[in-house]
């Protein structure tokens, strides 16, 4: 992708709305936010995210920002990273956090879960080989603990290793002496977080977005 788009007029909202599932007002509000972040430009760059002070204290800041520029999150076959995104991509990434609309059939719930978990998986799998290896998982845990200094680094490794063991035991069960565990595939990831109610937990209220403080 990576094509620059001109700022969509409200008539184009219909397209976006259909694609991402947001309502017109939500799209309008998000568009306002997009323009604010990009300083009235049509594209958003990584440096633009530095303008958000609250984000600076977030331990997984880099990964969140990366996720916006990861083409895998734009479409199913996307690959690689881009340097700037347009409003449509911004919206598509945001749509991963839409709260589930009730009522959902089981298949709908399943597909929503898959979509959200895919997003998370892409965040962890930075080299895009379809697997979260031990190194990558360790990186995740280190980032989470990045505020605790030296103590965190060692324990992070321990934690990540224990976590990998757990994944392996859940997904693969008993292994023969000459097998080894390569990494967490997407299926294992799904199985791992099977009891995690991701469809409701991973959502941001886009409802009352009129209360944005644009100055931040």
């Amino acid at each position: 992708m990576g094509t620059l788009q001109s700022s969509p007029a409200p008539s184009e909202y219909a397209d976006l709305s259909e694609k991402t599932g947001f309502s017109f007002e939500q799209i309008g509000v998000l568009h306002k936010r997009f323009r604010h972040l990009s300083h009235n430009d049509n594209v958003l760059r990584k440096e633009d995210f530095n303008g958000i002070p609250d984000l600076a204290s977030n331990p997984i800041r880099t990964q969140i920002v990366e996720a916006f520029f990861d083409q895998r999150n734009f479409s199913k076959d996307g690959d690689g990273k881009v340097d700037e995104i347009g409003f449509e991509e911004f919206l598509v990434v945001m749509s991963h956090f839409r709260p589930p609309s009730l009522p959902m059939t089981d298949e709908q719930r399943d597909s929503v879960r898959k979509e959200k978990l895919r997003f998370l998986f892409n965040m962890h799998d930075s080299d895009n080989d379809g697997m979260i290896t031990l190194e990558e998982y360790r990186h995740v845990v280190e980032e989470l603990l990045s505020r605790s200094g030296a103590l965190g680094k060692e324990t992070a490794k321990g934690i990540a290793d224990a976590a990998m063991l757990e994944v392996a035991s859940i997904s693969v069960g008993h292994m023969e002496p000459d097998e080894f565990y390569e990494g967490i595939t997407f299926d294992h990831f799904l199985k791992l977080l099977a009891t995690f109610e991701i469809e409701s937990k991973m959502s941001v209220r886009f409802l009352n977005m009129d209360t944005i403080t644009l100055c931040k």
């Binding site: 565990y181 403080t213 931040k216």
Partner: protein, 748 residues
């Protein structure tokens, strides 16, 4: 045959207990006569006292003085027999499956009351002072201390709406309609005025935490519904207190002005916020005190209990909401206290709280039954029936109406099934009874009390008994039995940060933003003050991980200790392989050298000593995570042995392509949390690495070689690392396993 014999034995035991209970009440009065007689015998003596004592009384070898110990004796006997009752129910298994324990206890109370009445004696009644000051606080503290904070705060809005608006609605609806009912000529209760009806409405409208806990405990419903109903029952106390005092004051005065109503609203805020403030103050005090208790561990639990009880009493002094104060105190105190106190103190607190709350609950229900039989009743068909109907009706209407509004603001909407359970779970209990008992006016009081008792009985018996089959019928989601999973914890934290980040990008200050801000405030300022030593910097993920490790180590010790071996085998899914491994491991445990032990002990002490186990389930009578009561030093020693063992058996492999890439990095742990990696090119052997992952029950962390003779590669790995430089790691099983293994263990 044996079962029947056991059951009939159970029945006779229970029957005997009834009689003894009744007898105890009777003996309460009898000794008064007894002690009278010795005193009359004393009288003649002083007459002769002035004379030279010609005859002396023989020294009494055995005397009888019941009066001396009467009160504590009776109290103890009552509590003892109540608990024996509780035991007795489990001998009769079929009944306890259908009927919730609270019903059985009330039933027992009824029976005992009946027996006592038949003997024409006066039975002890559920005195309000006894209830509010002694019986209620332990239950509330137990609930508040182990409150699942995450679920509670996520649903706080919903809970508050149900608690405040719902209770207000109930009170006014029931009160108002009852007044209308009282106007009916046929009822002959025209003397009851509006204010009294409203007072009655406010007493009967509050959902009772004791009853809710007692019933919901046993049905294991999913966390959301549990926290909704339970949270509502806790938070509506403020509303109840305000309404009760308001209407009681005014029912004497006779009229209510607008100014009074306004004052009532103000009073609500004062009562609730004041109660919380008192609780927070005592909580902070308690946390601060616990920071200095490292030298007197034995009294740590006492601080927790006393500060909490003081919070409750202080709130009651000012007519603030004692329940909210108690909850606030427990919630505030807990994270800091748990970081400071020793593991034994933590266990003590947990056990004592559950013990006290269990006793209290039992006593409350038995006394409820007793008071029913005893209390003067004024049965008025129309009044009672209408009360019952209106209570149910107002509950249903209230829940449905409020949910309709609430669902507009919730991410996870409440379904019709959820609404039904919430409405159906609105049980009334002993609080309503005690509040009614406190009323002063005697004529209306009896009528009110009768109606209150009827409603309580209906909700506890009918609703309590039928809720379990209904939950099954409606296929309501049950509580998921999830083991503490490090992955879930990682992802919970990850999601928290992710959602905060996304919220910040959107510029939306939601739930996560404020939670994040609170956490940061907590970390930078509060923790430094309230947590002793280096624990204050420990992030949550690390504490969680340490707790998990502790748990695994303990489970390993349990499986390692020979006496407990069979039971653990049954618990962990026992396979032959595992059993052989256990035995093999046991032998290995003995070969560790002393110096290494000391080293390991020091290291592990730094990491493991002050860790705790976090309760995942807030089931009140569930103490499944504490298998041991052994002496700490002995346990620690074994734990560390086992811990070291476990760590050495832990190893993972990293990257994937065995054939494609030349260097395969392998990873292995040492007990000190260091991880070594090396490249395959450096190792003398290349080839397969083993991973034997096992679930976190820790019971089988060694890799799976089916034969006991081929032990894990881990010891060999460790051994080989001895021979190589520490920056290298190691590989897979070679030919001389046993030899290397023993070398490993003895040299280290």
């Amino acid at each position: 045959m044996a079962v029947r014999a056991a059951r009939s034995a159970g029945f006779t035991a229970v029957l005997l207990l009834f009689l003894v209970l009744a007898g105890s009440a009777w003996t309460g009065d009898a000794p008064a006569a007894h002690n009278g007689t010795p005193s009359t015998q004393e009288d003649p003596d002083p007459h002769h006292g002035t004379n030279a004592t010609n005859h002396r009384k023989a020294f009494p070898v055995l005397a009888f003085n019941y009066d001396h110990v009467r009160k504590p004796f009776e109290i103890s006997l009552w509590i003892l027999l109540a608990l024996l009752m509780k035991l007795g129910f489990h001998i009769i298994p079929r009944v306890s499956h259908v009927v919730p324990e609270s019903c059985l206890l009330i039933f027992v109370g009824l029976l005992v009351g009946g027996v006592i009445k038949a003997m024409d004696e006066k039975a002890p009644v559920l005195d309000s002072k006894l209830f509010f000051l002694y019986l209620l606080p332990p239950i509330i503290l137990d609930a508040g201390y182990f409150l699942p904070i995450r679920a509670f705060t996520e649903n706080m809005g919903t809970i508050l709406v149900f608690a405040v608006v719902g209770t207000l609605w109930n009170a006014f609806f029931v009160g108002g309609m009852m007044f209308a009912v009282c106007q009916i000529e046929a009822a002959q209760v025209g003397h009851v005025d509006l204010l009294s009806c409203l007072l009655f409405g406010s007493i009967i409208s509050a959902v009772d935490p004791v009853a809710v806990l007692a019933v919901f405990e046993e049905i294991h419903i999913n966390e959301l519904l549990h926290i909704l109903v339970f949270g509502e029952s806790l938070l509506n106390d403020a509303v109840t207190v305000v309404l009760y005092h308001l209407f009681e004051e005014f029912s004497h005065a006779g009229t209510v002005t607008v100014g009074d109503a306004f004052l009532g609203v103000v009073s609500f805020f004062v009562v609730s916020l004041g109660g919380i403030l008192v609780g927070v103050i005592y909580g902070v005090l308690g946390a601060f005190t616990s920071r200095f208790t490292s030298h007197s561990r034995v009294i740590e639990p006492l601080f927790v209990f006393l500060y909490s009880y003081m919070a409750y009493l202080s709130a009651e002094v000012f007519h603030l909401s004692g329940i909210m104060s108690l909850i606030a105190c427990g919630v505030v105190m807990r994270p800091y206290v748990e970081a400071n106190i020793s593991h034994k103190s933590y266990t003590t607190i947990k056990y004592f709280l559950k013990m006290w709350s269990s006793v209290s609950e039992t006593l409350i229900f038995i006394f409820l039954g007793l008071s029913t039989v005893e209390g003067p009743h004024n049965w008025n068909w129309i009044f009672v029936i209408f009360t019952l109907v209106l209570c149910l009706l107002s509950r249903v209407l209230g829940v449905v109406g409020l949910t309709f509004i609430i669902n507009k603001f919730r991410i996870v909407k409440l379904t019709k099934k959820d609404q039904f359970i919430v409405a159906y779970g609105g049980l009334r209990g002993a609080i309503a009874f005690s509040l009614g008992f406190l009323l002063t006016d005697s004529e209306k009081k009896h009528m009110f009390l009768t109606a209150i008792i009827t409603v309580i009985f209906f909700t506890v018996f009918v609703q309590g008994m039928t809720i379990r089959p209904l939950v099954d019928l409606l296929a309501v989601k049950r509580k998921k039995e999830s083991k503490a999973s490090i992955n879930e914890e990682i992802h919970t934290q990850f999601l928290d940060h992710l959602l905060t980040g996304i919220g910040d990008i959107c510029g939306h200050y939601g739930h996560h933003h404020w939670k994040d801000k609170l956490n940061r405030f907590n970390k930078t300022y509060v923790k430094k003050w309230l947590i002793a030593g280096e624990r204050s910097n420990e992030p949550q993920l690390i504490s969680f991980y340490n707790k998990m490790e502790m748990k695994q180590a303990m489970m390993l010790v349990e499986s390692g200790s020979a006496a407990k071996l069979p039971s653990v085998m049954a618990a962990a899914s026992a396979q032959n392989i595992q059993q052989q491994r256990e035995e093999a491991r046991q032998q290995k445990l003995l070969k560790i050298s002393k110096t290494r032990e000391a080293e390991i002990r020091k290291v592990l002490r730094a990491n493991l000593q002050k860790t705790r186990q976090r309760l995942r389930s807030y089931s009140r009578h569930d103490l499944f995570m504490d298998p041991f009561e052994e002496d700490m030093s002995e346990v620690r020693f074994r734990k560390q042995k086992v811990e070291m063992e476990r760590r050495m058996s832990h190893y993972l492999t990293v990257p994937a392509k065995r054939q494609e890439t030349p260097s395969v990095r392998k990873v292995w742990f040492e007990p000190e949390h260091k991880v070594y990696t090396y490249d395959d090119s450096q190792s003398p052997r290349s080839g397969a690495i083993q991973l034997n992952p096992r679930p976190s029950d820790g019971a089988a962390l060694l890799d799976g070689s089916p034969q006991g003779s081929e032990p894990s590669a881990a010891p060999q790995s460790a051994d080989q690392s001895e021979r190589q430089k520490p920056s290298r790691c190691l590989s897979d099983p070679g030919p001389n396993e046993d030899e290397e293994e023993s070398i490993f263990f003895s040299s280290r």
